[in-house]
Every structure is written in C-alpha cells, then in structure tokens.
C-alpha cells in the first residue's frame, strides 16, 4: 500500500499493512572469495534475470527429438498443436522459434539445451519450491543465501559498492529467494528496491504543501512550489521525529533514503525509449516490464541486477492445455528480441545481459490433459553482455529417455556437454568479478566457454 492510500483509507476506516521480512540464512564466507576488481570494472555488467516460475517446457527451444517423443507420448504433439514446425536449429517455429533464430544469427544469444540436474535425478526431486530455492540460491545447501544477496555482500566486502551506490539491486517481481540474506544482514542500501513497469514511485510523498507550509514559509520562499524541491519544515520535522521512534530495519532504511530515491525514480520514469522500428515492443505488460528494466539500467549504471518474473504472460506450470504455452513463448521471445534491439540502440549490448531460466523443465509426454508434467532438463537462454560473454549459438544435444508409464524425459546425449542449474549462479558470480564461483555453488562452474 502506498502512503497516500494509507492516509485516504485511514480517513475512512483505518488500516494496516504487512511488509514481508527477510529471514536469514548462513554460510557465506567472503574471505574465501577471490575477487577481481579489474574484471568487475571491465565487465561493467548489468543483468536482467527473468525467472520462468512454474517450470517452462524446453520444447520451444528444442524439438529436435519430437518425432521420437510422439512415438511414445500419450497424445501427439503434431496432432494437438497448430503447427510444430522446426526451425533451422530445431527450435519450435510457432513457439518463439523464429525470434530465437534471429537472436542466434545476430550473435546476440546462446541457447543452452542441456541444463540438467543429476543431483535432482538421484534425489527424485522435481518439486517447485525446492527447485526454485536451489536455482535462486545457486546451491543445494538449504542454508545458503540467495544469489543476489551473496553478490551484494561480496561486492560490499570488496569495496566496490557502498552507501553511495544507488539502487544496486531492483526487483520487479516482489521478494524472492534471490535476495535471501546470508549470515550477516545486509545494510539497507543493498536490499532490493521494488518498482513496477509504470515506475509507480513507492518513495513518492504526496505533500499537501498548503497544509505543510507555515505562514512564514509561504511568505518567504517557494514552499508551495513542488517543482522547486523545497521540503517544508514540518515534513522534515516529521521525518526526524518518526525516525527516532522507528526500529532499525527495512522500513526505517527505506524511509531514510526516501527523498533521494523518489527523485531518482521520477527521472527514470521520464526517460524515453529509442524508436525500435520493426522491433518495437509488443503490446503486453511483460514487454513493459523489460522495457522499464532496460531504461533503468541505461539511466543508472549503479543498478547491477534486476529480477523479474514473466507476469503479464502467465506462469509456466503447463500440466494441461499446452496450446497456451505456444503463445506465451512467442510473446516472450518477441519481447526479448525487442529488448535486444533496445539494448543495442542505447549501445549497451556489451554490458547489459539477460538470463532466462526457471526452476526446471518438463517431462515431454503430452499427457491426457494435453500438458506436460515436471521434468529435470531445461533450457538456459543468455542474451547480450557481449563484452564478457562469447555467444555460442545452440549448445547441447538431447536424447529421449522413455521410462514407461508416461514418463518420457529429454536427457543430455551421452558424451555431450551438460551442466547443473547451479552453473547459472556461477555465471552470474563470474561476471561480477568472483573468480572462484565454484566455492559458492558446490563445485559448479559457469557453462563452458561462455564467460
């Protein structure tokens, strides 16, 4: 709830609000981290993490095995879907494949087809909650902190971010495990700032200047002129007095930086997107989110990581009615193509990267409800960041493993490259200057040759 909403509602009835609080986990030893400030500075990396909650099917980026899948599947993909056309690289043309091919051809994206977990295979784990946590923490250690919280703690410990760093981490999805703090609580300035695609300003203070200004202020200065930036003495006194009562923590931290962040968000909201021509963003709220994220990164080099879900497109837990998935993937990759065009137009394709993944992929049996159940192999899409990423096009080969009883899996082809999902965390750690990311990810390194 916004403050002004609270005031309005209180005048009618009174109200309360819950701000969820972070819990703390253990096990980050920054002294064990080898950090390269040269890599950090040279990369000047900025990342948009798009997490596909629900576990997206990998088929949009890989229908190379579809004929064999349909030999065993309960329902036939070829019969159910309105088109399962393979692109040159075996992507699903109707499900974003055309856009994927354009991104790959331009050298803007790597499509990894074999993000597979042997650990989960052995443990029989295909649960949303646990797998989401693991992927957002970058560890199978239940006590580990989130990837972004770890990066924040390390960058602070290594002296490259401090209290003057403005909004280093931003969430457009609310709170998530990405921000679960380690054994030392992060200071307020390292905690994520939550914004939305409309830049509705959570720090905006709706001051009724006529009421807040004293007669003397009205007589002697521009107190009632909001554009002047003058803050009435009463408002200043309110802040000072309330902060003496507010307990240390998230709300107090947020209020302490309110004015600074409020003005900054207003400036970003007023920035414009270049004309992207035929690559203009499609009209959906997910596109608005990613467009806003890129504007923010362009405007503010202090912002290092923005996380968002795919709100506006829908979730990915497609146990039934798989046709919806096709349109969702098409919209997602059309938006990503526009995003890359946007990033190029502002000449940030060497620094800004986008990473797209979820908690897991899916079983490839098209079930009786024309959907797919949980699986253990997913695609990882990495776009941009061309100053530090060497894009590889399509990486990884899959085979069909028909385990019977409608359990049909894609698995890495024997002898070909694959990696655990924790390698995604390693990739993030690496581009932010951490030279031994494996100590944070249980020995998992970034996907081969990407960094």
């Amino acid at each position: 709830m916004k403050r002004r909403d609270f005031i309005k509602l209180s005048l009618a009835a009174g109200s309360a609000i819950l701000l969820p609080t972070f819990s703390y986990s253990a096990t980050l030893d920054v002294n064990a981290i080898n950090f390269s400030s040269a890599t950090y500075n040279d990369n000047a990396a900025q990342t948009i993490i798009i997490f596909m909650y629900g576990g997206a099917s990998q088929l949009s980026g890989n229908i190379t095995n579809l004929a064999e899948i349909d030999q065993h599947s309960q329902n036939s993909h070829a019969d159910y879907f309105r088109g399962t056309t393979p692109t040159a690289n075996g992507c699903w043309q109707e499900a974003g494949g055309v856009h994927m091919e354009e991104l790959i051809a331009a050298g803007d994206m790597t499509l990894y087809r074999t993000c597979y977990s042997q650990e989960r295979e052995d443990a029989g784990n295909k649960a949303h909650g646990v797998c989401t946590e693991q992927n957002q923490k970058g560890t199978y250690d239940a006590d580990g902190g989130g990837i972004v919280a770890n990066i924040a703690a390390i960058l602070q410990a290594k002296g490259v971010v401090n209290a003057n760093t403005l909004m280093p981490f931003v969430t457009m999805e609310g709170e998530s495990t990405f921000y679960l703090e380690g054994n030392t609580a992060l200071p307020g300035y390292l905690k994520p700032v939550g914004i939305n695609e409309n830049f509705d300003n959570p720090y905006d203070r709706d001051i009724s200047r006529w009421l807040h200004c004293t007669q003397a202020e009205n007589d002697n200065n521009n107190c009632t002129d909001a554009a002047s930036g003058y803050i009435p003495k009463l408002s200043q006194d309110m802040d000072t007095l309330t902060q003496t009562y507010n307990q240390a923590g998230k709300v107090k931290d947020a209020f302490a930086r309110r004015g600074e962040l409020s003005n900054f968000i207003k400036e970003i909201a007023n920035s414009t997107t270049p004309d992207l021509g035929e690559n203009a963003y499609p009209n959906n709220s997910f596109s608005e989110k990613i467009e806003a994220a890129i504007k923010l990164l362009d405007y503010n080099s202090d912002t290092k990581i923005i996380t968002l879900g795919t709100g506006g497109l829908g979730g990915w837990d497609d146990h039934n009615d798989g046709r919806d998935y096709v349109g969702r993937m098409e919209n997602l990759f059309q938006s990503l193509k526009s995003a890359m065009a946007h990033i190029k137009a502002i000449e940030k394709d060497s620094t800004i990267n986008i990473m797209v993944f979820g908690e897991f992929g899916r079983n490839v049996n098209l079930n009786s409800a024309n959907g797919w159940d949980h699986g253990n192999l997913q695609n990882l899409y990495i776009l941009g960041g061309k100053g530090y990423f060497t894009h590889k096009g399509v990486v990884g080969e899959t085979i069909v493993d028909n385990a019977g009883s409608n359990r049909i899996w894609l698995k890495p082809k024997s002898g070909t490259y694959w990696f655990e999902p924790l390698s995604i965390a390693s990739t993030l750690y690496s581009i932010y200057g951490i030279e031994n990311p494996n100590v944070l990810t249980g020995g998992n390194y970034p996907p081969v040759n990407i960094v």
Partner: protein
Amino acid sequence: MPSFIDFERFNPNSDSDIGSLRTFVDYLFESTIARKATDDEHALFKNHMIELRDGKQLFRYDFNMFISRDDPEDQASRRERYKRNIAYLVLDYISRLDTIYRQREVN
C-alpha cells in the same frame, strides 16, 4: 453512523483549541496505532497548527475546526474541511512510523 473524524468520536472542547487538538490527535493515534501521541508528537502538531492570536493560543486558519460563520451550512462545511486538514497531517505523520507497517505481523 458518524464519520471517522466526527466530533462525536473525540469530544472536543471549543473553549480550548490546544486541548481539543490534543484530544483529536490522541484519538487518531489510538484508532490507527493503538497508542496516544507522545509529548514531542503533540508539540510538533501544536507548533504547526496553533498560533498566538489576541493573546490566546488559537488554531491557525486552515486548522480551525471551531471557526464561526453566519451561514450555518458554510460554518459546518468549513469546520469539517479544517478538521480534515488536521487529520491529514496527523495521518501523514503516522504513515511515517514503522508501527503501521508491522501491525499485521504482530497480530
């Protein structure tokens, strides 16, 4: 049902602007965060809304919920408006307290 800031709810004394302000502020505090205002908080509002006029401590114009007018309708309308002005500032202050954002957790 009387409104949230109806005079019936906090029983002001029109002979004492300072006392009525104090009563109204405490009513708003207790209704929203279940405590009375501290002396420092009362002083903050008093310093802004009360002025010395004709040798008396009286409401500033925009906060004068006891204002007199010949036209009864105009008087009632103004009193309501100026009372809302007080409430607006007090609730603005309360909204800056972390207590209001913690209440549901406590419950």
